[in-house]
Symmetry: C2
Subunit: 312 residues, 2 copies
């Protein structure tokens, strides 16, 4: 198997592009591809100050590294979920990347804010941990953007994440979520612009990029995220991909085309009022996050730790 670009021994097979590349050419290819997505969908401009949502996993650390390589000024935001060993290791990996890039890392400690971990709080509220975690992450990451003046929040969601979530929404026709996926959600009413530069890049590509760039990431998934369904949908789509390479990309691209015609989040935000505590859009008198804080929070404010690496 030869590299399609230079003819040397190839390291990475890319059946979805009917191609194979050596390490160096794969890195160049991947960076060009993400850069292409950024340009095509208008995700980031030179004027933007971006905050990358980092978990310590391959996707988010690769994204942070890649945005830096492309010359975008991007700091990191990390949510410490208080899941003992898992949270400890992921914070270490995240800090390593902050040091490597000489970039700021904001962190929000779940345990500090609520005096308990996500699992305990979820149990008290009779909500699945992933659902509670989602509410809190969305709020806190957005809050970090507005508090510290970042114009864009970038997340590491990849092709496999998006395709499997989309498949789940379709099988159950969750119309309320179905048409809301996208590479970009524009800023609106106190909500920062959100972008997914890896939307069209597979999990395997993101992992290869991390490995080839010596990015030390946490291999384990969050222990609460191992929902049978998400993993099942990913494995089913991988089986289709084996038989018909590039199906996942076609699935998402076709979806994007269709979703465009179905409208964006604009409508939904217009229907919402404002939270009486923080002022963000909310259906109720208080938004979900402020209700949580009022009931379970250990203090009135959302507090971030800021880790500033030493200059190079």
């Amino acid at each position: 198997m030869k590299c399609r670009v230079c003819g040397a021994q190839a390291n990475i097979r890319l059946p979805q592009y009917n191609s194979a590349l050596c390490a160096g050419d794969f890195i160049a290819f991947f960076e060009k591809r993400v850069s292409g997505t950024i340009t095509k969908y208008g995700l980031l401009s030179e004027q933007d100050r971006a905050l990358v949502a980092v978990s310590g996993g391959k996707d988010s650390l690769s994204l942070w590294h890649l945005l830096d390589r492309l010359g975008f000024s991007a700091d990191g935001i990390y949510i410490d979920l208080g899941i003992k060993e898992y949270s400890h290791i992921s914070l270490v990996k995240t800090r390593q990347m902050a040091d490597r890039l000489h970039r700021r890392l904001y962190s929000f400690s779940f345990s500090e804010a609520f005096s308990k971990g996500v699992k305990e709080l979820a149990r008290m509220m009779k909500r699945p941990p992933c659902s509670l975690c989602g509410t809190i992450k969305r709020y806190v990451m957005n809050r970090a953007c507005t508090d510290y003046g970042y114009s864009v929040l970038a997340t590491g969601h990849n092709l496999d994440d998006e395709a499997s979530a989309l498949l789940g929404n379709m099988l159950h026709w969750k119309e309320e979520y179905l048409w809301k996926k996208g590479v970009v959600l524009e800023a609106e009413r106190g909500l920062a612009k959100k972008v997914k530069p890896f939307f069209l890049c597979s999990e395997k590509e993101a992992a290869a990029y991390a490995l080839l760039n010596n990015i030390d990431y946490i291999y384990d998934e969050c222990p609460y995220s191992l929902g049978a369904k998400t993993l099942l949908y990913k494995s089913l789509l991988n089986r289709v991909e084996d038989v018909s390479p590039a199906t996942k990309i076609a699935f998402l691209k076709g979806y994007l085309k269709r979703a465009k015609a179905e409208g964006s989040r604009g409508q939904e935000q217009e229907e919402k009022g404002s939270c009486s505590v923080c002022g963000y859009p909310s259906y109720g008198e208080q938004c979900n996050f402020c209700r949580l804080m009022t009931k379970f929070g250990s203090g009135p404010a959302v507090r971030f730790d800021v880790y500033v690496p030493s200059e190079p």
Copy 2:
């Protein structure tokens, strides 16, 4: 495992309904369910003369048997594809059912009409056999309805057939087919009404109904229909169903709701002209079938054999 109705030993597990039934109660349940679909979607009325598309397989023979049991007057139409052993066995099974129900069976012989089998003709035309077969079946079955005065064509498509085809259309966003599936297609411009009474019944249910009614059907699938993708999609959906029973039904019901808003075949038929040979709707000067007959047909007319069983 006890029968949910009578408490006797259950023979059939139905996880999608969170139920299990004995043989007798399963038959009653299945017939009631199909009868409910017929009423709910307006598939058949007592005034209708129905023609059942029979292949000799479990779905179509069960359907013919069941429509008879429900008191609908239904004859059969069989297409002999000229696939040696397979076609021979399926015709035998089909005739057995015609004898059992004392119903007419119309048959159209592919080899007689074209002096060759479907595989050979497909090779000459450089088309996949399934695509050619589809064109011919659709035309000929409809033609039998209009030639012999049947108001409705009923096919044995089941939940698994429909869900897997839908999944394939969605993964590749085949918008031209995507919103055209349905339990019923109303009659229009020379096209008979088409109905799928098993639309919400699984393959396993149809097989159980056949077995419990001593219906002797051909077990083999058509040798050309074993496309990797259709089987793959079916097996993937079965894996989802194992984890989340009733997903397939939810998938199709949600789809039907959505498709209703997307319009029906009416629009498309309006855009078509009429075939200069047979008068049916056609985009070209001749419809696909008449072009085939003009080029490869051994005679000018579509000819049916009519098998009339002896009176009981």
